[in-house]
């Protein structure tokens, strides 16, 4: 029972992590119709940012997290400005190719600068400490609490932004119709930049928590979590925020709990996400929260 509880909390934390990054994929897809392949590399860079901030420059972990957030956002915004903005009126496939190009560029750049020798993500004893509850049987890592609370707070803030602020309403408008948004006086480049700030920020958060769970950093470290988070976004219905969160949580739960109940499957844990993806694409291609069709025009 106690281990079940512990596994469940682990699964939940992993799911929240997937959900956060998935929301970034989903928002970028919503506004540019782009699968942001470069985001795996941003995820990887983000982990290196944490390594340098904390392990090399000896910042306290919370300042390290802030530095990591700031640098990751800067990277995301630069990618958008350099590789996506010039292609605003180009066919969608060009944009996708550009994203793949950026992904390879960053990965190779990282190999040159950081070398392929793995580095280890900084230890943060405060977050990794296990809290013992009740009679000593119930144990929960502080990180789990931190992840779940961050997820709830960040997503609530994001939903508030989208529903109740002028910029948020403009974001939803731009995601539907560039031209008409411009006719309202909206600066679509500014709106898209905000979307990338949000997406990269969430990716940094995800990378931070990932690093604490799986502390090995290498130039290809972003591929697996990046792909899984993208799958989570598709499972939830890409373009939909609540869907992305739910998709992430489902993915986290399935991955951890299946291994818990069927320990023999532990070698295959990375496959579950892909099986779920295939099932979703077969039976509900628009995802669990697939876009409602309200468009009459």
């Amino acid at each position: 029972m106690a281990t079940l509880f512990q596994q469940f909390t682990n699964a939940l934390a992993l799911g929240c992590l997937y959900g956060l990054v998935a929301v970034g994929y989903s928002m970028v897809y919503g506004i540019l119709h782009l699968i942001n392949f470069a985001n795996s590399s941003v995820f990887m860079f983000s982990m290196y940012f944490a390594f340098y901030s904390v392990s090399v420059f000896y910042l306290p972990w919370y300042f390290g997290l802030i530095a990591m957030l700031a640098l990751t956002i800067l990277l995301g915004v630069c990618i958008e400005r350099i590789a996506y903005q010039p292609l605003r009126s180009a066919p969608r496939i060009s944009l996708t190719i550009s994203a793949i190009g950026v992904a390879y560029l960053l990965e190779n750049f990282a190999t040159v600068v950081f070398t392929a020798v793995p580095k280890s993500f900084p230890d943060i004893p405060f977050l990794q400490e296990v809290i013992v509850l009740g009679n000593g049987e119930w144990r929960i890592q502080r990180l789990v609490i931190f992840v779940v609370i961050s997820m709830v707070v960040l997503i609530a803030a994001l939903l508030f932004f989208l529903e109740h602020t002028k910029m948020g309403v403009a974001t939803r408008a731009v995601s539907k119709d560039f031209e008409t948004s411009q006719l309202m006086g909206i600066n679509i480049n500014a709106v898209i930049r905000v979307t990338f700030i949000i997406g990269s920020g969430l990716t940094a958060f995800g990378a931070f928590m990932w690093g604490l769970k799986y502390p090995q950093i290498s130039p290809t470290v972003g591929a697996m979590p990046g792909t899984k988070c993208f799958i989570a976004a598709v499972v939830g219905g890409i373009g939909n925020i609540k869907g992305a969160v739910l998709g992430g949580i489902i993915l986290g739960l399935v991955e951890v709990m299946l291994v818990y109940f069927f320990p023999g499957l532990s070698g295959y844990r990375d496959i579950f996400a892909f099986i779920i993806l295939i099932l979703i694409l077969l039976f509900k291609p628009t995802g669990l929260f697939g876009a409602k069709v309200t468009d009459k025009a």
């Binding site: 002028k166 309403v169 403009a170 939803r172 408008a173 995601s175 539907k176 119709d177 031209e179 008409t180 948004s181 411009q182 006719l183 309202m184 006086g185 909206i186 600066n187 309200t294 468009d295 009459k296 025009a297």
Partner: protein, 240 residues
């Protein structure tokens, strides 16, 4: 107020506008009529910088606005009600109106303008929480016009506002256009319904294959034999 000089626009190899010049005077209604594909919508899209002209100039209140970013043109008081309505289907009626006033800061005046729009279109008030995508075509058109008015424009340009609407609604729309104009807003109107448009307009321009082929007072053009046979021949007058 708006002056276009020798405007040309190319789409790839296609020359959509070949030197268009026209003038819209302050507080007046001007109309642009012409066959399908003549270049009417392209003219309005060029004025709002949605397409970049390959030649010519556009002046608004004496200022050269050619190639300015769209949002700066909107900020100067030009709004376009685009062809085919283009309300934001995933936003509520109220949010659509709110975006109409996106560049404005005077919040107390904005809330009065909501009331003004709801007075013009009581239907919109009833449906203010509904997603715009679920409105009927006519209601969407009202929303598109109301949204444009929320910008407090000096010049409102409408691209076929009566397209696909029932005759009764068309009459309402024309009535509202003259009402808006009476409030001091200059109007540039594109219409298939040439008869009704020319009746309403102070000035009319006829466009053919990317050129202005004729212009004059609205009533004068209405009497013109050539125009009667080309554009008014079978058009039923629904403005009465």
């Amino acid at each position: 107020m708006l002056e276009i000089k020798n405007l040309s626009v190319n789409y790839g190899g296609i020359r959509a506008l070949k030197g268009v010049s026209l003038c819209v005077e302050q507080k007046k209604i001007a109309t642009l009529i012409g066959a399908n594909g003549a270049g009417k919508s392209t003219t309005l899209r060029a004025i709002t910088s949605l397409v970049k002209p390959s030649g010519g100039q556009i002046f608004f209140e004496g200022e050269d606005i050619t190639n300015m970013p769209t949002r700066e043109i909107v900020a100067r008081g030009i709004v376009l009600v685009p062809e085919g309505r283009h309300v934001f289907p995933n936003l509520t009626v109220l949010e659509n109106l709110m975006l109409g006033a996106y560049l404005r800061k005077d919040s107390s005046q904005i809330s009065r303008d909501y009331d003004y729009v709801f007075e013009l279109f009581p239907k919109l008030k009833e449906r203010s929480w509904q997603m715009a995508g679920t409105l009927s075509g006519g209601e969407q058109q009202m929303l598109a016009v109301g949204r444009a008015l929320m910008a407090r424009p000096k010049l409102i340009m409408m691209d076929e506002p009566s397209l696909g609407l029932a005759p009764l609604v068309v009459r309402d729309i024309f009535h509202i256009i003259s009402q808006i104009n009476a409030q001091g807003v200059t109007v540039l109107l594109i219409e298939q319904n040439a008869n009704a448009a020319l009746k309403l307009a102070d000035t009319g321009y006829v466009m053919e294959l990317g050129r202005i082929s004729m212009s004059g007072g609205g009533r004068d053009l209405l009497q013109n034999e050539q125009i009667r046979s080309a554009y008014l021949g079978k058009a039923k007058d629904v403005s009465k």
